[in-house]
């Protein structure tokens, strides 16, 4: 049965006889790749558009309807050396992109209005000290109002909406003082213009919006980029399933095109991409991604299998209960719901700052007004001075202080291989003092590896690797990887459940179960050396070799554990695996605290226990069984190879084999939190200088404008320091 690949699910009709597909491409990083791909694809006849997006690492393709199969593009890209896979924009990402465009539109409107209002304000400022006649000044003020009022009404929307929502839930966020400040400044300026007064604040109000929108846009584009990369990685995993389209006819389709009730074929060595029930066949399955248990389980008629299970020996037919992200183990779903509800709502640093800030600022403005009235000033002058206080204290620098640091820090973390799922995770990560690791798939690599490759002669290893390439069995795949073999041995035959055999000249070679190769004795010897490993035997004529295969620890796991300990962070292992396996890993890594055979409920109980002792716990895990504890922990992290649900629950996701990104993320977030605090203090310091000037009533719009841009630039420049952490820490 040869399966055909079917990507029609991803093809869109682009109108006027054209078809469109988006491909996520791996390894596009430079301008050279960009032109190479675009030329390579444009050279295919009937392709009308091939455009690389270097920011999102994607290619958009259009071609004449019916002329080409999407497979041909993927094959062409593979020839050029790029791995590609069709991509479907997820709902969340489309919403982020739309929000990002809206903010940019607001920013554009505000920036153009600022420039034009400034153009009118500067003649007024200079005219006030020279010879401008009042009629001219009024005319310029009216023009400023004409530009600033509609622009502020449009560009202020993000702040007004958010402030309104906060007030409706009886909260205060940074947008409340911003909205009040801008509205009062504009309102007062209109009144002043009507009364032919000397000073108006149209320029200050609209400039404030511009600076704040820069902060918002930076924040938004950081989140959008993370989502785009996460979306690409999900697409590049290329999760497909072999679906029965007829009684005996199969087709390789993307998981997104599988519906409940479909029947899929699961061959040995394949990872199940759907949840379902076995209806035919018998096999052993590896459920370590789901339960953390590394011993294989038996699957037969009626057994429930979950996305992420690896089929080991036999072929299975599975009836799909729900595609990709659907139902899961009922217990895990229930625990996860509870944990998510109980997740104490973390109050972000910016919101904590604005809770203190808003009352202080508004009280100062009120006292200024009352003070001036008591000292005999007119109500008009008192109100003007009070509004000037609001404008000068308006949190321009405060609004930029945190988003700029977050953007720079997340960029640095991105380069270190860490993606952020939630915006406030940087702040929470910086406080962590206790890290809990899951073992299987987190401290260890998800793939099997040969542990005794060095003890086997190189030519024998290469030959075994060539033979192994003929098999789909995960153990064989480990042997093939260890040998770096490129081409399979011609004429090799796989015997299901036993192994592979072939001939080199006249000598028979076999790779598989020890009994299949007649090597039971040496296999038993191997097992006594490493009881956790599974063995695979290789016979070359009469010579017998035994490979020990197991999930290896991540290459830098030991170094990273000691790096965490050096930072005064406690390390603990909680695993659902058997005690000997966990004990061995804990001993190898030098971790004193470990528990084995832990259920998801136990993990949560342990986290709650630590929380009540005052620890800030970070959970690092990948399995489906870790998802509830990831949600329960103060902050959580998953490797990119984790189960869907865990990855979606975790606050951060790290890429690649090494564990180094975990430590790097902690370092970067500590530095970032430090800079955020520093920026807030800079903003407060600026206010301490500016407020007395404003209260005394000598602030002119010129002073307000200069002070605002000065403090904004200061916090932005300071934020750039988040790019690096001191050497030796990372």
């Amino acid at each position: 049965m040869q399966a055909t690949r079917d990507f029609s699910h991803y093809v869109r009709d682009a109108g006027s006889g054209l078809q469109h597909i988006d491909l996520a491409v791996e390894g596009v990083s430079c301008a050279g790749c960009m032109s190479k791909i675009e030329r390579g694809l444009s050279a295919i006849p009937d392709v009308t558009l091939a455009r690389v997006n270097l920011t999102d690492r994607r290619v958009a393709l259009e071609w004449k309807q019916g002329a080409l199969d999407p497979i041909s593009f993927i094959d062409r890209l593979a020839e050029l050396g790029y791995k590609a896979y069709p991509f479907e924009t997820a709902g969340a990402e489309a919403a982020e992109a739309e929000q990002s465009r809206f903010l940019l539109r607001c920013l554009g409107v505000a920036a153009f209005a600022t420039m034009n209002v400034m153009m009118l304000s500067i003649p007024v400022w200079s005219g006030n000290v020279s010879d401008m006649i009042p009629e001219q000044r009024d005319f310029f003020h009216w023009l400023s109002a004409l530009i600033a009022l509609p622009a502020a009404a449009y560009a202020g929307q993000p702040f007004f909406r958010s402030a309104f929502q906060a007030l409706r839930t009886r909260n205060v966020n940074m947008d409340v003082p911003i909205s009040i400040g801008v509205t009062l400044a504009l309102g007062m300026s209109v009144v002043e213009t009507v009364n032919h007064a000397e000073h108006t604040y149209f320029d200050a109000a609209i400039m404030l919006l511009t600076f704040l929108l820069v902060g918002r846009y930076l924040d938004q584009s950081m989140r959008r980029r993370t989502r785009a990369v996460a979306g690409n990685l999900a697409a590049l995993k290329a999760e497909t399933a072999t679906k029965f389209v007829g009684a005996d006819e199969i087709s390789q389709v993307p998981v997104a095109a599988i519906h409940p009730g479909d029947i899929v074929l699961l061959r040995p060595g394949e990872r199940c991409a759907v949840d379902g029930t076995v209806i035919e066949g018998r096999s052993e399955i590896d459920q370590s991604l789901i339960t953390g248990e590394t011993l294989y389980a038996t699957a037969e008629h009626g057994t429930a299998v979950y996305a992420g299970s690896l089929n080991i020996s036999g072929t299975l037919r599975v009836r799909v209960s729900a595609a990709s992200e659907g139902t899961l183990l009922a217990e895990i779903t229930r625990l996860l719901d509870n944990a998510l509800q109980a997740r104490s709502r973390y109050v972000r640093l910016a919101d904590r700052a604005s809770r203190l800030y808003a009352p202080v600022v508004h009280a100062t403005a009120l006292l200024t007004m009352l003070g001036w009235v008591l000292m005999g000033a007119t109500w008009h002058d008192a109100i003007v001075t009070a509004v000037a206080v609001l404008i000068i204290t308006c949190p321009c620098a405060l609004g930029l202080a945190i988003p700029t640091v977050q953007t720079v820090a997340s960029g640095a973390m991105f380069r270190a291989g860490v993606l952020l799922n939630s915006g406030d995770s940087i702040e929470r990560l910086a406080d962590v003092d206790h890290v809990i690791f899951d073992k299987t798939g987190t401290l260890t690599l998800p793939e099997l590896e040969v542990t005794n490759a060095a003890a086997i002669p190189e030519d024998v290893l290469r030959l075994a690797g060539q033979l192994a390439l003929a098999s789909h069995h995960p153990v064989a795949a480990a042997v093939a990887r260890a040998s770096n073999a490129k081409s399979p041995l011609p004429g090799a035959v796989e015997e299901p459940g036993q192994g592979v055999r072939g001939y080199v000249g006249a000598i028979e070679v076999r790779l598989g179960r020890p009994s299949f190769c007649g090597a039971e004795q040496s296999a038993n010897d191997g097992l006594s050396l490493d009881p956790e490993a599974s063995t695979v035997a290789f016979s070359l004529g009469d010579a017998k070799y035994v490979f020990a295969v197991r999930q290896g620890l991540r290459p830098d796991a030991k170094v990273m554990v000691s790096a965490l300990l050096k930072r005064n962070i406690r390390v603990e292992i909680l695993s659902g695996d058997r005690e000997p396996a966990v004990e061995a890993a804990a001993r190898a890594l030098g971790v004193g605290e470990w528990r084995a055979g832990v259920t998801p409920a136990d993990k949560i109980a342990r986290i709650e226990d630590l929380k009540s002792q005052g620890f800030k716990v970070m959970m690092v895990g990948d399995g489906l069984n870790d998802a509830p504890s990831l949600a329960a922990a103060y902050v959580s992290m998953s490797p990119i190879s984790a189960a869907h649900l865990s990855q979606a629950t975790a606050d951060l996701v790290f890429l690649g084999k090494p564990l180094a990104p975990v430590v790097a993320a902690i370092d970067f977030s500590r530095k970032a939190l430090h800079l955020m605090r520093q920026n807030l203090w800079l903003a407060v310091g600026y206010n301490l200088l500016a407020v007395p000037i404003a209260v005394s009533g000598i602030v002119t719009p010129l002073i307000a404008a200069a002070a605002m841009s000065g403090s904004s630039l200061l916090v932005m420049v300071n934020a750039l320091r988040a790019r690096r952490v001191a050497s030796g820490e990372a």
Partner: protein, 54 residues
């Protein structure tokens, strides 16, 4: 000061043209790939490559 009758509408008009230009460029997707656009500016022109003898 009669010159203001021309200069003020002219300034406002130019500002508006700039804003409309920005909104148009945003709508036509020119800000979707800022990294790629930076490199495209210095990439070789397509026809020049094809004319070159192989």
């Amino acid at each position: 000061m009669e010159v203001m009758v021309i200069l003020v509408p002219l300034a406002l008009g130019l500002g508006l043209v700039g804003l409309l230009g920005f909104l148009w460029s945003l709508k036509s997707g020119q800000y979707d790939d800022l990294e790629g656009a930076a490199w495209r500016a210095i990439a070789d022109d397509e026809p020049a490559r094809e004319k070159a003898p192989d």
